[in-house]
Symmetry: D2
Subunit: 299 residues, 4 copies
């Protein structure tokens, strides 16, 4: 990444050296918030933001996200994690405790259409997304100039059905080499194999160019045009092995009328795709999303 | 209808005694607008509003809606229609010329949920819809009080699969007796037979409680909940014999989040259903809709 | 109120006999959430919903709203309030602890335009607002039929500048007699005196028919028309003695174009006014609003 | 401009060599549409798109925009203009007839914040705006790299109150040298003098970072924050000599809540500013706007 980005990340780390985020899911019962907040208070941590949700107060599932400020977090984080295990066990929690200064590393996959990639870069430059774009992988050369212009490594890996296995092997190696936390499919027009998806559970975010579950699969704008819809949409979701059936993170729509032909729908759609993907990525980076039974809770 | 409504309709007729609407579809070519506007000018008519659309200027289909003010329209309307045939033939037009003072007669079909019916009545009372509600037909008694309270005839016709044939025979007779122009399915939860639909082409407007083509068929809110969508919608369309596949007139959506259970989705959805159906009906009553190849052009 | 409403309220009370809400504002510091949640846990209360906000984690103001389920709340509520004083003092809290079964009593003030009143009644009937409408006061007779039709007491109190003092004296007496918790100005077109406002701090909700602070004062739609705006709006706010300057609770807008004359703006505006006021009232009734320095925090 | 843009423009010209636009305002009376459409038909022109509006059919003002396809327009345009004068005189028309292949030349003025400039360039690259950006003028150096990177001339002209007269003299000379049709103030934070404005009537488009007429003048986001609004907005308008009082072209808003501080409002606002300005510019370039009595008609 170029020096501006690197500088931005360093400042962010400094500003957030004491900031942590705790995500918890567990069966609901009285005493959970009390136990967690006492735990945090015992480290002199101040709760900055807290959101919770319960599917059903009686016998349901409980979810909470807490953002806190804790003096000397860098030094204490590991100890906190160890100590938290006792509470976690008592309440049968699934949980993560993430120091904010650990900036997530991202790989962006893209094909020929660059608008989603450009939007992510735009948001990054504006300071609205905080991630370290470790690399960009594409089955086309279209994005090379803009990506390399920002000193981000660009890998051109041609792809098609026949060579998919080798392609994904190369890709997975790169992801491992760069220690990537999140894969963003920014209009990457290749299908991923179950093998690839299984290796990255809830770590691949896709943008689908329709309002799912309408127009699952290929050519959604063409099919929206044929159906004569009055609104078109875009959907960002985690990738699972059911095509376009993974947990939905965010959706949005725009109004269209009979005047819009397929080309116009695509143009209007690009604006929605850009913002929907950017919001989904932002929420993931901020640890705002919990996946539960093929749905997302977004705090 | 009660005296307030009748009074409103009479005032509307008086106010619009010289107002007419011309709807035309034909193959596109130069000279259409010129021919139509000369025709209108020859009757000293003033064009108040005009909208047009062409699928493709070269060899496409042309559509136009003109609203005009013509002195003595009441006396001249029939002559105008006769005279227009020459132009219509020359350009191979499908067309209608409708005097606005001919207020359309409506039949509303409803089941147990009354929010769409109530919205239509509300809009009527506010002067935002101009129609003569000739009768309300229901397979439940729930709407009787409110309908009869407005002096609108209410017909309770129980319905189910077994007796559908006889039910529709009774309904069609009522529609004929009351000389109905438009049938509004305001959450009428019975399927109509091909026979009934064929008897009323582009004359039945339905409200479907999802963002079509997502969640075609029954229980859309339950299925939206299961899928974890972030937006829910409603769709108003003309009824054809393909279930929920008729030409879409209007759609809208509302944002929801993980907190909304099925009951909450239904509540939020009702607000969208109300306004989407009311807009579609309004546009139909104002002769703003042309159906073309299972799509609508809404001027 | 008619028997349907009364029945609805009784069911709501029963369903929520153990439900409570705690609202707290205090200077921010570590340990607040811990203290509150321990307190609730000591009563075996389960936190159902919790939202918090801090103006600035370092030396700012802290706000929290907690909704909880506490066995035998009816019996324990008073004891809880007494016991909470210790925590409240320690953290210098302003706070309220409200049992949900104490349904709030509302007075609706209205003039000639009834759409906001009708919307509130509609929401009430749909089970989306939970309040006991104790009475309706109007300076016109327009609303009498609909209000008395629901067995809600209706008071016709003519009003104008000259007799304002006596009018408000009568109104305040009624509010006291009916033990009213909230006053809703549902398009009540009279200005209230400082005396009346001072007697009801943060207890009067008004709907203003513009997007404040644009078009403060009279005739906002006429002025919006003259200015040629492309969006019109409505604003719901608590009433203070600065005209249309009180804390804003909710705002919304609708798109308009050059075709809309003043009459059309008013029609479009009514739809926004209805929903904006209904949302603001709903949030107040659910104890979601904290007023802080002429702004609202809406949880 | 760089070769891509130049190529795009040339293709656009070729594609639109027979496309023209006619804008007309005149007192309303029967026969206007007939006269215009006969005129166009006499040149064998096909009307592609037509929109009209009348302030009041009886004695009001009439407006129409017609887009047409006319064989050999390039050769005939001047003759058409001459011939149209007769009709124009008969109906007391103000009018323009613009061949679409005459691509408008634009000057963009910008200060330190580049998001609006970048959005315009983005739209240009996507083929959604058709203009020849002749030059960019700025009182800061911030935009130089991106502008010169596209081979667009960049002029750094420092500006402040004291030297305003000389600054504007230099700017006006550049506008004349480059034969500019439209000036876009893309967050240019200097006030223009009456002299400058008078030299460019309805040719300067500004983006104001509030929902006008709320927060006229400086620091609108700070004032929106202080007022505690729940929606923030942006307004694009033609510049007149009354600050922020010129004819409004487009407005939009975004929802905010109590969590948004001034910095957050600015971030959210930037997204609205970008799209609002881009739409206004697009409509101007497509000759869709008629200014009438300090309002815009946007067809």
């Amino acid at each position: 990444m170029n020096s501006n980005f690197k500088e931005q990340i360093e400042q962010f780390k400094l500003r957030n050296q004491n900031r942590g985020r705790l995500l918890v899911s567990c069966p609901d019962q009285p005493g959970i918030v009390s136990a967690i907040s006492q735990f945090l208070f015992s480290y002199n941590a101040n709760i900055i933001e807290s959101s919770q949700y319960s599917t059903n107060p009686e016998g349901g599932e409980f979810f909470i996200r807490i953002e806190f400020e804790c003096p000397l977090l860098k030094e204490k984080a590991n100890e906190m994690k160890e100590q938290f295990i006792e509470i976690a066990n008592k309440f049968s929690m699934k949980w993560t405790l993430t120091p904010v200064f650990k900036v997530k590393k991202t790989a962006i996959f893209v094909s020929k259409e660059l608008h989603c990639l450009l939007e992510l870069i735009w948001e990054l430059q504006a300071g609205d997304l905080m991630t370290d774009i470790a690399l960009v992988i594409s089955n086309h050369e279209a994005a090379r100039d803009v990506v390399e212009g920002l000193n981000i490594p660009f890998y051109y890996i041609p792809a098609n059905k026949e060579i998919r296995e080798q392609v994904e092997k190369d890709q997975l190696k790169l992801l491992k080499d760069y220690d990537v936390d999140l894969i963003i499919l920014a209009r990457y027009m290749q299908i991923l194999t179950p093998n690839f998806v299984a290796a990255n559970p809830n770590k691949i975010i896709n943008i689908h160019h329709s309002f799912l579950p309408a127009f699952i699969g290929a050519r959604p704008y063409e099919r929206a045009y044929d159906r004569g819809v009055k609104l078109i949409g875009a959907t960002s979701h985690y990738v699972t092995n059911d095509l376009d059936e993974g947990p939905i993170i965010e959706q949005d729509i725009a109004r269209v009328d009979h005047r819009a032909n397929v080309e116009a729908l695509k143009k209007i759609g690009r604006t929605i795709e850009r913002s929907v993907l950017a919001r989904a990525v932002k929420w993931h980076l901020e640890d705002r999303i919990i996946v539960h039974q093929n749905k997302t809770i977004v705090f």
